[in-house]
């Protein structure tokens, strides 16, 4: 209660122990977001602010304040960050980080994981029609763009892959729902897990495959 910031006394008519005025809270959020290269959650900001502050509201104020400016307050999953405006990239030649060029396999695998998450390796292979090399997934994990998700509660309990907040951050996406064309793909049924016809009929020695197919049946993408 008593750890209110020392410097808000000038024009604060608020009682001594109340939360700082919203303008002051906005300054705090501004300072924290500027100081961090990684997105910050509202909770982590709130934990550093004096009691009674509303970090979520302060972020909204701040976001509006930076509309149209050279830097922007952007949402990244559950967190917030400040990033330079996309149209000013040409000024930042010195800051460009050269990244290893991704192989076509890696790019496709990444897209499949992002759009189909959580998705098993078998499913990725079925979509691409080829086996996924270990190196491809390793590379994406190393880039911190994908991570292991929950295991499927199906025979074999296969591990799944999901996209990370860093992936969202890298591609400037607020959430996985904002993936380009997601709604159209879903409407066209292209994100459905459609089992090959007759999968259930192939009974005898094919226990494993059947299990995988059923996974697809029951897990809504």
């Amino acid at each position: 209660m008593t750890d209110t910031p020392e410097h808000q006394d000038e024009n604060s008519s608020a009682p001594l122990f109340a939360a700082p005025p919203m303008a002051e809270q906005e300054r705090m959020v501004e300072a924290m977001l500027f100081a961090s290269a990684d997105p910050l959650t509202v909770a982590s900001m709130a934990s550093r602010m004096p009691h009674g502050c509303d970090a979520a509201e302060a972020v909204q104020h701040l976001r509006r304040r930076y509309e149209g400016r050279g830097v922007q307050v952007v949402r990244v999953g559950e967190a917030w960050a400040i990033r330079t405006a996309g149209d000013l990239g040409f000024l930042m030649q010195n800051e460009i980080v050269e990244t290893r060029k991704l192989s076509r396999a890696a790019i496709e695998t990444l897209a499949i994981i992002a759009y189909h998450q959580p998705v098993t390796r078998t499913e990725i292979e079925e979509i691409r029609g080829v086996s996924v090399s270990r190196g491809t997934l390793d590379q994406l994990i190393e880039l911190n763009w994908i991570r292991f998700g929950r295991r499927r509660m199906t025979p074999g309990r296969p591990v799944t892959f999901v996209a990370t907040p860093e992936f969202l951050d890298h591609f400037g996406l607020e959430s996985a729902r904002d993936l380009p064309g997601l709604a159209e793909l879903r409407a066209a049924g292209l994100l459905d897990n459609r089992p090959p016809p007759g999968a259930a009929a192939l009974d005898a020695g094919e226990e494993d495959e059947e299990a995988d197919d059923q996974t697809e049946l029951f897990e809504e993408e």
Partner: protein, 264 residues
Amino acid sequence: MADPEQFSAASTSVADRLAAEALIVDVDGFEGPLDLLLTLSRTQKVDLRKISVLGLAEQYMAFINEARALRIELAADYLVMAAWLAFLKSRLLLPPDPEDEGPSGEDLAAHLAFQLERLAAMREAAAKLMARDQIGRDFFVRGIPENVSRVRKVTYEASILDLMQAYARLRTRDEFRPYALDRDSVYTLEAALERMRGLIGLAGDWTDLERYLPDDWSSDPQRRRSATAGNFAAALELAKAGKVELRQSDIFSPIELRKAARET
């Protein structure tokens, strides 16, 4: 069962054949049979949903035959796909066998078309994704991030009762008797009252009743029980007299007492 497309597909045009042959040279450039099929399907120049799977199957087998003629090594999965397409083709062309429980040729063909469409869609999505503004290329993070230092602040807690007891312990070390069994293990209300009266003024804030137990009464379970009862009774007496306030946050939780505020 009659597939109207089968006629056009059966007579694959010369141009298609040439295109297919051109692909053979690049066989290593394909990421598996599905990728090859997708590429072949482009030659049909129709929406993938309206693709002639039969025509596609023939294009694929023409490709495989051509590759064999040129003695090009093909990976096993290309041949597996060729066999499967041959099977699919026979299913599409022959009247359905009522004995056969398996999926119909149309179902299999529809699934193949779905797979091709899905692969094409994912490719397009991947391209759109990579075309987005990217961090470190089109937009940028803070160049001089400041580290948030984690400060571990330890506060030590000690009450005045701790302090006084420590001092008392030191000053009476010589006369200290760690364990003394008195004849009667009964701690009377009077004794408790007298002791507590002296103590309540010293501990300012809420203090657990247990802390008022006399030192040599707390180790032996029997004596401890007696002293606890005596202490409790004394606390009630003092509360009744308005000398102390009592509180207990919940059933069986510690009973705490403090000196009553005299001013009010």
